[in-house]
């Protein structure tokens, strides 16, 4: 028996000055199913809530319509209130007569009519509400971290600190990521490897960490608290259980290719460890360059290996893991060099990118920390740095700012000047963005102390003439065209999403933007969550970031994971879709519509006819309650709790009565 209570809030004068609240309450009292209607100054205040509480009890109300502000504001308040009185919280609806009414209309008659009609709609809705119970799902207390760069490492370490096991999956043969490639980091100029490698070691040796390097994510199913992950452990061709890491294979391997880690500034063998501090520090065979695999002969490593660890027959292995939460920390790539032909990148040997320069600066790098011209090994006397190569370039590159280039370019120029005291460093920039702590001071130091020359303007062309490189650009401050004879040019190429990020996002069912960066659930308030519950973001896979930001976000993601996995079960809102199995025709249009993969195929037995058939089932642990599956369900086997077809029909039906307000002044 519907006994709905309608509570009309004045919101002080916020509502009452434009809407005749008394008239609204009076009209509401006459609606069928309304047992009680009243108005009060502030419904959300303690006395207001008491009024509602007492009325629920004295009038034996079966549902509430609170006509006040937006449900986005106070729906939780009044639902909690209902719960306290023993009423199911989902029997409460709010009629928005403030944001959508009193605040946007001036004519009191119109506003009051709209308020009455809105209340009527919500009364018709709430009459059709059903009591709903929270959904509880058990959780697996284990987390998956995808990506073993600094973001992944930090998140992993933070999570295991809380006693939660971590599975880390890294695509390349070693963890460490881009940070392992760097020399010194801005703005403190502390040594990157010195601060990173201890963390790499700590993580890899932690008893709660399972490390899968040279591995990728094949498939993710399940849902928050209950993900099932298939990890493809690519064949290393080297049995790490047997391998002692002696390195003889790498020494003798005849196949050479350019080193990814050194970004082509050096060569590596087909059997290799990407860098000396790699973890695990045991080699893998790159089958695309190994002579055994490309030509079917050689086998030197196998012959020489004292541990007999080489296994040419090894196959990819799929490992299945169950986890409760996932941190995605897949990092970034640099923009394709080929895009900037006019800068000669890739064609002119002495034009390199920032990461190559980092490798050159690194003491353990290909040049042993010496800055040299790749073409002839001489020390460059003039180095031109070019910022915003690809970034902030709508036409060819990407429109966004890569955020880290201003700082690392300043750092590069500075480090160059430290090492080549008589060298000249020029930086072409559009503007210098140095918004972090100590950043502006750092740039200033480069200019004031290290005499780096900043030229404001774009570089139009970099070309080689008679073995000499020229950089042609404009200095917009002086209004001059400038042409600089450079021994070395370093391009600050744009940061892009990591290759394969789109495919990974699809596997994870998380959103990504047009550039392939993963999208956070809310840009301000939920910056580390994705729209898929239980999946979090850390680092540059979400947007370009420097190390401090990356690490903060990684810790934030870790804390989200720890929070999520701190209880034994998850409590979810019951606003989910449900299937009437009898009516379902198993066309699975819902399945292809569902962005969360919440639709399952199950066999169902009709209790009446005892016949079995395949039907769709909504996994309430996954369903987010968007209702996108409903319009595609032709026989209407699906309904959405809280926004059911009957409820919405009730609201539409209420439109059949118009209200006219007569002023009686």
């Amino acid at each position: 028996m519907a006994r709905i209570g309608v509570f009309v809030c004045w919101c002080g004068s916020n509502i009452a000055s434009t809407v005749d609240v008394k008239a609204v309450a009076k009209a509401a009292a006459s609606f069928p199913g309304v047992a009680h209607a009243t108005d009060y100054k502030y419904m959300c205040s303690d006395p207001g809530q008491n009024l509602i509480r007492e009325t629920i009890e004295s009038e034996h109300l079966t549902g509430l319509v609170v006509a006040a502000c937006s449900p986005r504001m106070h729906e939780p308040t009044f639902r909690r209130l209902a719960l306290e009185t023993g009423m199911n919280p989902y029997l409460v609806e709010m009629a928005n007569i403030r944001e959508h009414c009193s605040w946007v209309h001036e004519d009191k008659g119109e506003a009051t009519a709209k308020a009455i009609e809105t209340v009527r709609m919500l009364v018709e809705k709430v009459k059709r509400n059903s009591p709903l119970e929270e959904i509880r799902v058990p959780v697996t207390k284990k987390a998956l971290v995808i990506g073993g760069g600094v973001a992944g490492i930090q998140a992993g370490l933070d999570i295991v600190t809380a006693g939660i096991p971590v599975i880390m999956v890294e695509r390349s043969p070693s963890i460490g990521g881009h940070m392992a490639q760097l020399d010194e980091t801005f703005p403190t100029l502390d040594c990157s490897q010195c601060i990173l490698t201890p963390k790499m070691v700590e993580l890899s040796q932690h008893r709660l960490v399972t490390l899968h390097t040279f591995s990728e994510i094949d498939e993710v199913s399940g849902f928050v608290g209950n993900f099932k992950v298939k990890i493809r452990k690519k064949a290393r061709t080297v049995d790490h259980d047997k391998c002692t890491g002696c390195g003889i294979c790498m020494e003798k391997c005849p196949a050479k290719v350019s080193s990814e880690f050194d970004r082509g500034l050096s060569d590596r063998k087909a059997i290799y460890v990407p860098f000396p501090q790699a973890i695990p520090n045991k080699p893998v065979i790159d089958r695309s360059s190994c002579i055994w695999f490309t030509k079917g002969r050689c086998g030197v490593c196998k012959k020489l290996c004292p541990a007999e660890a080489i296994d040419f027959e090894e196959k990819d292995v799929i490992v299945e893991e169950q986890v409760g939460a996932i941190v995605v920390a897949t990092g970034y790539d640099l923009i394709d060099r080929g895009l900037y032909g006019e800068y000669g990148h890739g064609k002119i040997k002495d034009v390199i990118d920032g990461l190559q320069f980092e490798r050159m600066l690194s003491a353990s790098g290909p040049t042993g920390g010496k800055i040299v011209r790749p073409s002839d090994g001489a020390t460059p006397k003039t180095v031109v740095f070019v910022q915003c190569v690809g970034s902030r370039d709508d036409s060819k590159g990407i429109p966004y700012c890569s955020r880290i280039c201003c700082m690392y370019t300043a750092k590069h120029a500075m480090l160059y000047k430290h090492r080549v005291k008589d060298g000249k460093a020029y930086i072409f920039y559009i503007d210098v963005r140095a918004g972090g702590k100590g950043y502006e001071e750092f740039v200033k130091r480069a200019v004031d102390e290290d005499r780096v020359v900043y030229l404001r303007g774009r570089v139009s062309r970099i070309f080689e003439k008679n073995g000499t490189v020229f950089v042609k650009g404009s200095d917009t401050l002086s209004g001059q065209q400038v042409e600089i004879r450079a021994d070395l040019v370093v391009l600050a190429t744009a940061v892009t999403s990591s290759h394969g990020s789109r495919e990974l996002a699809q596997r994870l069912r998380i959103g990504f933007d047009q550039y392939g960066f993963f999208t956070e659930a809310h840009p301000k308030l939920r910056p580390v969550e994705t729209t898929t519950p239980g999946i979090y973001l850390a680092g540059a896979c979400q947007a370009p970031k420097d190390i401090p930001d990356t690490v903060s976000q990684a810790s934030a993601a870790a804390s989200k994971v720890i929070g999520l996995l701190s209880s034994d079960e998850l409590i979810r809102e019951p606003l989910v879709a449900r299937v009437d199995e009898k009516v379902c025709i198993a066309c699975f249009m819902c399945e292809s519509t569902c962005p969360y993969g919440a639709i399952e195929h199950v066999t169902w037995k009709d209790p009446e006819t005892r016949k079995e058939k395949e039907v769709a089932r909504v996994n309430p642990g996954i369903c987010e309650g968007c209702g996108a599956c409903l319009p595609v369900c032709r026989p209407k086997a699906l309904d959405l709790m809280g926004f059911s077809d009957e409820q919405i029909y009730g609201e539409i039906n209420a439109l059949s009565d118009l209200v006219k307000v007569i002023h009686d002044e």
Binding site: M1, A2, R3, G33, K127
Partner: protein, 277 residues
């Protein structure tokens, strides 16, 4: 019979009783004085109740004719209209059409013993006849009542049951299905057909039964076993109905319209009908 077909009269809900968790009884009073004074019916007849804005559904009249000022119907929540009826409050207005259909024989059975066998809400059509029989108690020999439900909570008309238990002019046996009893239960435990066989009323009585289809089926078998004549075994049938007067065409079983030729049938009549119910 000429009627303003299909247009109901207005009745007011005067009282609501929650019989079981999903059954409630409504007491209805007709608004139109002329209709009220002309209204007459016999036990076994049914009516259609409309919830305006929702639709119409069929119910048997569950109160005896001698309660003159009102009628009662009992409604189990199964569909759109019945749940709308469950949403009504005292004072609500509904549409009423009826009475329709045939009725239980009454005067014809004077001098005989009567056995009422009911299950669950199936007591509703029997209730008026039981009260009518008790009002002319001296015209009958023995009166038996066997009534059961799934559980104690599912028994309807608890006040009536109490009164019938206390009277010595009706042999009342109440039962619940195994597992449906509670600590306070002082009746039988067992399925209605089993209890019927246990009570074993004389086979020359008239047996009148109503309940869920599966119960009716087994009661009929038990009646046969106990030696009742098919012509003395009476039940009411239920089919989907719309008009209530035998014109809309959907409630037929063979050439009989349940709404017009029924709903009351003897086992003898039913045996002649095709098996489509």
């Amino acid at each position: 019979m000429r009627i303003e077909t299909l247009v109901p009269t207005v009745a007011r809900v005067e009282e609501i009783r929650q019989e079981t968790p999903d059954i409630r009884s409504l007491r209805l009073v007709f608004e139109d004085e002329d209709f009220k004074s002309d209204f007459a019916f016999k036990p076994g007849q049914f009516c259609l109740i409309s919830v305006l804005g929702v639709g119409e559904a069929v119910f048997c009249i569950a109160s005896p004719p001698q309660w003159e000022d009102f009628i009662e119907v009992s409604v189990k929540e199964v569909g759109k209209v019945t749940s709308a009826i469950h949403d009504l409050e005292i004072g609500a207005k509904v549409g009423f059409r009826g009475p329709y259909g045939n009725w239980f024989p009454f005067e014809e059975n004077f001098g005989r013993s009567i056995v009422f066998v009911g299950g669950g809400i199936g007591l509703a059509p029997l209730r008026p006849l039981i009260w009518q029989t008790l009002s002319k108690r001296d015209r009958f020999r023995d009166v038996y009542l066997i009534y059961g439900a799934r559980s104690v909570a599912d028994l309807v008309y608890k006040d009536d049951l109490k009164e019938w238990s206390s009277r010595d002019d009706i042999r009342f046996t109440k039962t619940v299905d195994p597992g449906g009893e509670d600590e306070t239960w002082d009746g039988e435990v067992g399925l209605v057909p089993q209890i019927l066989e246990k009570v074993s009323p004389p086979s020359d009585s008239v047996l009148i039964t109503c309940g869920p289809p599966i119960m009716i089926k087994f009661v009929l078998l038990s009646a046969n076993k106990l030696g009742f004549r098919p012509g003395d075994v009476i039940t009411t049938l239920e089919m989907k109905m719309k008009c209530g007067v035998g014109t809309c065409g959907r409630c037929n079983i063979g050439n009989k319209y349940v709404c017009r030729h029924g709903p009351v049938f003897t086992l003898e009549e039913m045996e002649k009908l095709p098996n489509e119910f």
